[in-house]
């Protein structure tokens, strides 16, 4: 049975190694400051007591106040799972360091997060759009996507409401 390491536990471990690196700790995850992210992830991969050699999933979330990237890590050696997060507060230009130097498996997933959420992964060797074409306006998974001024995509300002009807939903708040 996989041991799911709570965010509080992993935050204590990280804090013992890198004081000041932890930004927030919740039962589900530990959030790390962007400037120490690569250091922390490298340590989690290389330390023989942690040995998170497998990056299960990397994805971005638009939390409205900030963007965050969630790393679901797995240790095949110890059969353990943990979640690390990093936050980017600047909505105009969210930048986080790339995890590709730590796990090459992050390559396509970072391109996906860049394509759909517009999170820039600094240090990714090949950061291009992946599903949408170059020149696509906006980043569709952002919560304010349908509120683009004037509707950057033709016809988009009328979806899903009728013309002239105020859009409702979480994206518009």
């Amino acid at each position: 049975m996989t041991t799911h390491v709570t965010g509080i536990e992993i935050a204590h471990l990280i804090d013992g190694q890198f004081p000041d690196a932890v930004q927030d700790a919740q039962p589900e995850f530990a959030a790390v400051k962007p400037e120490s992210l690569v250091q922390v992830l490298t340590w989690l991969r290389d330390d023989s007591d942690q040995a998170y050699e497998f990056l299960s999933s990397l994805t971005g979330v638009d939390r409205i106040q900030w963007f965050e990237v969630a790393y679901h890590l797995e240790s095949i050696k110890h059969n353990r799972a943990a979640t690390i997060k990093v936050r980017a507060g600047d909505r105009e230009n969210p930048v986080v360091p790339s995890a590709v130097p730590v796990w090459p498996g992050a390559q396509l997933q970072e391109r996906e997060a860049y394509d759909l959420l517009g999170i820039v992964f600094e240090g990714n060797p090949d950061l291009r759009r992946i599903f949408l074409w170059d020149g696509f306006a906006g980043f569709p998974l952002r919560k304010d996507y349908l509120n683009l001024p004037g509707g950057q995509m033709p016809g988009l300002e009328r979806f899903p409401g009728e013309p002239g009807v105020e859009l409702s939903g979480r994206g518009t708040e």
Binding site: S56, D62, H72, W103, P104, L108, L116, L132
Partner: protein, 380 residues
């Protein structure tokens, strides 16, 4: 003296039988050798993750059929498990066993298709596929008996499964279980001991265990490289902890070993289904959830709208293609705040460039086939 020719770009796809859908590969060649490979995807991008944010949790189940449309049972299962984890729902035991049986039947169906298409990629045009499709059809018949659909099944529900199996289902499944070992022996003869396939697949597209883990490769590709990692064993879900089975592991990490692992897994799936059919208990197949109603026929209707607590959940299962995960963030509303699919087809393509560089164009087709990706899941 070595002759160096001008680099030459070959475009494979998006409409090409070896790409198994609409997927494009741009190969840069030096002579016949590949020096660069670039994947162009997105032709089947349906923005599922955005659409899911506008729909209720129950309405999202049919979307999960359409990500990996060759193995929709496992898509259903991973999604409902993520929502159950978020809400803390316990699933009745009979439903757990039904989920296990259906997921394993789906694995046999999906692996048969992978093997048939692989023979297709190696040049045995269409005949092997039709052989493999005989069994797949019978499995689809069983699905049809259980839920009325053959491909987009929509069978799992949050808290259980949509309905119990009919009385004649178990005898028919048992008959299929008796027939399949003979067929599997036939496939092993046809594929694994075939000189052409051995010549095409041995030593091609090799991934070492370290490379496979670093590139987040999972499923038969990871096990083909010799890493005994199977979510069914490592983190048992549904009824896998009550069932005895082995993990099939390869040694060389080449294309051939991936298919050896797939064939061995089909035999293990059979073993799992036989045990599960024997020990499956009776009882309800659906946890009553809020205002859920159970109809006289045993079919349960999950409430259309409910609100999980604020939080997040990541559930993962072993789909035929690898580790399939659903990451759901809830803001307490009736629909997910964020809905992300960790798609094994997509992530298993990460080391494609690594495997293809230095190989020939003909090898690249076989390597691409060994990833066994479904474009619906790559693009979502």
């Amino acid at each position: 003296m070595t002759i160096k020719s001008e680099p030459f770009v070959v475009n494979v796809g998006p409409q090409h039988p070896s790409t198994h859908g609409v997927f494009r590969l741009r190969l840069t060649l030096d002579g016949e050798k590949i020096i660069d490979a670039d994947m162009v995807m997105g032709y089947l991008h349906r923005s599922m993750e955005k659409l899911a944010e506008e729909r209720t949790y129950t309405q999202n189940i049919p979307f999960t059929d359409r990500t990996d449309y060759v193995a929709s049972m496992t898509g259903n299962l991973a999604y409902v498990m993520a929502v159950e984890k978020l809400m803390g729902i316990e699933v009745p035991e009979r439903a757990q066993f039904l989920r296990t049986i259906m997921a394993e039947l789906q694995r046999i169906a999906s692996h048969s298709m992978a093997l048939g298409i692989f023979a297709n990629d190696c040049g045995a045009w269409q005949t092997p596929v039709m052989h493999m499709f005989r069994d797949r059809e019978k499995i689809l018949d069983l699905f049809e008996m259980a839920c009325g659909a053959r491909l987009t099944l929509n069978y799992m529900r949050i808290g259980g499964v949509s309905r119990d199996i009919p009385d004649e289902w178990i005898p028919q499944a048992q008959k299929l279980m008796e027939d399949l070992p003979k067929r599997f022996a036939e496939y092993e003869d046809l594929l694994l001991h075939n000189e052409i396939i051995v010549a095409r697949a041995r030593g091609v597209g090799v991934l070492t265990p370290e490379q496979a883990m670093a590139h987040s490769v999972s499923g038969p590709m990871l096990r083909g490289s010799g890493v005994a990692w199977d979510v069914r064993k490592a983190d048992p879900y549904a009824a896998y902890d009550k069932i005895d089975f082995d993990i099939a592991v390869g040694t060389n990490g080449d294309v051939y070993d991936r298919f050896v692992v797939r064939l061995a897994e089909m035999r293990q799936s059979l073993h799992i289904i036989e045990q599960a059919l024997e020990v499956m208990p009776g009882g309800p197949v659906h946890e009553r959830l809020g205002t859920a109603t159970v109809q006289p026929g045993g079919q349960s209707i999950a409430p259309l709208a409910f609100r999980p607590p604020v939080g997040e959940a990541y559930a993962r299962i072993e789909s035929p293609r690898g580790e399939l995960g659903y990451y759901i963030v809830s803001d307490g509303g009736p629909s997910p705040f964020r809905f992300h699919i960790r798609a094994p087809s997509f992530i298993n393509l990460t080391p494609l460039k690594l495997m293809a560089i230095g190989a020939t164009v003909a090898d690249a087709i076989v390597i691409l086939g060994s990833v066994d990706f479904v474009v619906g899941e790559v693009d979502r």
